[in-house]
Symmetry: C4
């Protein structure tokens, strides 16, 4: 497959994409290092100001490299990079299309998201790490089958709605945000929230955070630079 | 013990077995690295087109080397390599004999398989990773004692039947497949499925995947090359 | 911000603070290595004989360095070092002010403390590691929002009272002691106690330690030099 | 303290003790690496044919070295090596005295032993790893306080009786065997059995192994050389 160029979109090899590509690979390694991914899943980033995105090309997040990134548009058209689109590219394409505010998307098979996806109990925030969620927790996409079609991708995006997270039944989750850093932090924290909710629910009814309480904590939110620095520092142990 | 040669079977030291041997050792290391084995268990591979198999010779999977492999036929006759057959060689011999479709067998003391082997609850798939299982989950071999005799091995193979997995009461599991890679992926995923089912069952009745839903996911199945690449990449942390 | 000097207080760069600074950084690394902190939290140390303290300057405990320490007084006034006070400096300032006996304070988002902070069950000691606690376990600060104001800090200190620990609802804990070593040991042991209590409570009513029994164990207490040596030895695995 | 010599007992520095000393240090490192010890606990070995033993001198098992071993007799008299006896030397002295068949003793704060020590449920074997235990599981020493006196040590030895294991309420366990290797393997397996029993009990009544079934498995028991080799191989990750 030859790389094709599109007006108004940087070429896959353009130097202006270097930083975004490095950050995307780092994000994949972080989710692997933090035990969220297990050989499957992918992070994607919108090329700013365009209708195209970068993601990993059918490789495990833990094995991602710059050479194994791919650029596609929202119809899945190949625009450069490694030539094997990920099975579930419609997750990213359909979410980016439906949500112009979203700059990055992560899909993982997080154990904790999967757990709550098959329970009749919602994953509601018990720690202030959940301040990016609503008090009644994320919705669950009930679709069956990998999200390999645009139809399934659009269903998923509809269930996500305007929120930050959608759990996927018997599968995992999809998390969105306005930067790669935010999506990574949210994905890690969603897992921590899921584990905590699991532990607490074993002892009866825990005391959840109300909408008002979450707002009090949200007033303190900052750009997730500290978390990112920390996650990056832990990557040295991978080598 | 002298290595004995058999018509139609490559000698233990034949170069044509090199790749299979390396893959077998790697498979053992992967199951150790992924926390499935704990000093015990073994992976075996049929020598293609023959009635003989290779496995590890009474050594921990995590310590396996090419020099510690052994070749036996389905009656347990020694055909080459290290001279101490594993205690439970009849697991492999009897399963390979009963199942000509099977090219590789893994036996481990997986915590999650052992857990469901002693419960009155079946280990049924809650994640699409379970698409290689039937909706009602694997059978449990109720035999007591290590599988050191052909009689026990044949019992085990009977309980396995035509399926991919048999749990073993108070012991662990045996997993089969059409390649070493598939057996490793299935063994790892069986453990993940067991952990997830354990977690979910603590909260009441989870929503399992039906036969039809598993088939929808199965339509997407691929050769497990991506998982294998990932597991191999994680072996560097062992050294 | 220029470093300001105060009568009777060593300058931030004074050699006499070197040992304290190194110990503080080590304490942060230990809490990270032992899995208590997760990118957030901080340890602080009173400068002996003064009303000022050292802590980490808005950096993850796992990334702490000598260069990223800050010195503040109990009103939060900057006295030297890195120039970005941690969000929740009032935790340390208000506790040091209210408790002249306290030489060190640690605040973490420990999973186990957070768990008990949202349950209607108290975290009571089941292991002799809990001999620094009272038999009915630590109180829970119910305040909502990060402790970024003196008002919240004073509330927290009031809930702590004269005890060694206060859990913080949907947040974590604050632990105090008469040395950095003791605070680190208490924080690690509090997490172990929480995990053990969690496990035991799943099986019905465990047999707790009574006040008298805790006193019997306390009679054997020593300075935590052995624990500190051990934790330090485990830091080599971080590099 | 000067090392004192005793008739019929090799001097602490005698070359004939080198192998035993190295094995003892390795045993300590293994229990640390396997996550059983946490800075506390100790392994001891009887000097064959004598009434004296070697153990670690008030140091964490994970930090043990040849230089930090101590030799004592069964009354606690110092006979050589590092000069700070462990707090709980009477555990070893009293067990060795009461049990001439015992060549090695390990005391740890294993989470799983501590868990069952505070529950009204016995830790009974669910995996064939428990074949060294009786079907109704080990007794629990109910004594309070560290075992720093001969009186407490004798109580503990009485509760142990002729068995391989005694759990210690709110404290941990003591495990004995006819070699250092066996004690290490038993200690590790006891932890695995405890974890498995914990998991299974959460789902209702598991199917335990009967006395007869344990005997069937015991018939297959071997010297634990394979486990020891495996545990040693995992120590390289400590450095």
């Amino acid at each position: 497959m030859a790389s094709s160029h599109r007006a108004g979109v940087p070429a896959f090899d353009a130097a202006e994409l270097d930083e975004l590509k490095h950050k995307l690979v780092t994000a994949c390694h972080i989710l692997d290092r933090e035990g969220i991914t297990d050989g499957y899943g992918h992070v994607a980033a919108r090329v700013p100001g365009t209708n195209v995105f970068l993601t990993i090309a059918n490789v495990s997040p833990g094995c991602a490299t710059i050479e194994r990134l791919i650029m596609q548009d929202f119809d899945g058209k190949y625009l450069g990079g490694a030539e094997t689109p990920p099975n579930e590219w419609p997750i990213h394409a359909c979410v980016f299309k439906a949500r112009p505010d979203v700059m990055s998307v992560a899909h993982t098979h997080s154990v904790w998201s999967t757990l709550f996806s098959v329970l009749p109990i919602k994953l509601k925030p018990l720690h202030h790490y959940g301040k990016f969620l609503s008090a009644d927790g994320p919705p669950v996409y009930q679709g069956v089958g990998l999200v390999r079609t645009v139809e399934r991708g659009e269903d998923l995006a509809r269930t996500l709605g305007k929120g930050p997270v959608v759990l996927m039944r018997s599968h995992g989750d999809t998390v969105v945000g306005d930067s790669i850093e935010q999506v990574v932090q949210r994905t890690v924290r969603l897992a921590k929230l899921g584990e905590l909710a699991h532990l607490a629910l074993l002892h009866g009814a825990p005391r959840y955070l109300s909408t008002e309480e979450l707002e009090t904590f949200s007033a303190d939110e900052r750009f997730p630079a500290r978390g990112w620095e920390y996650y990056v520092s832990r990557l040295k142990n991978r080598d």
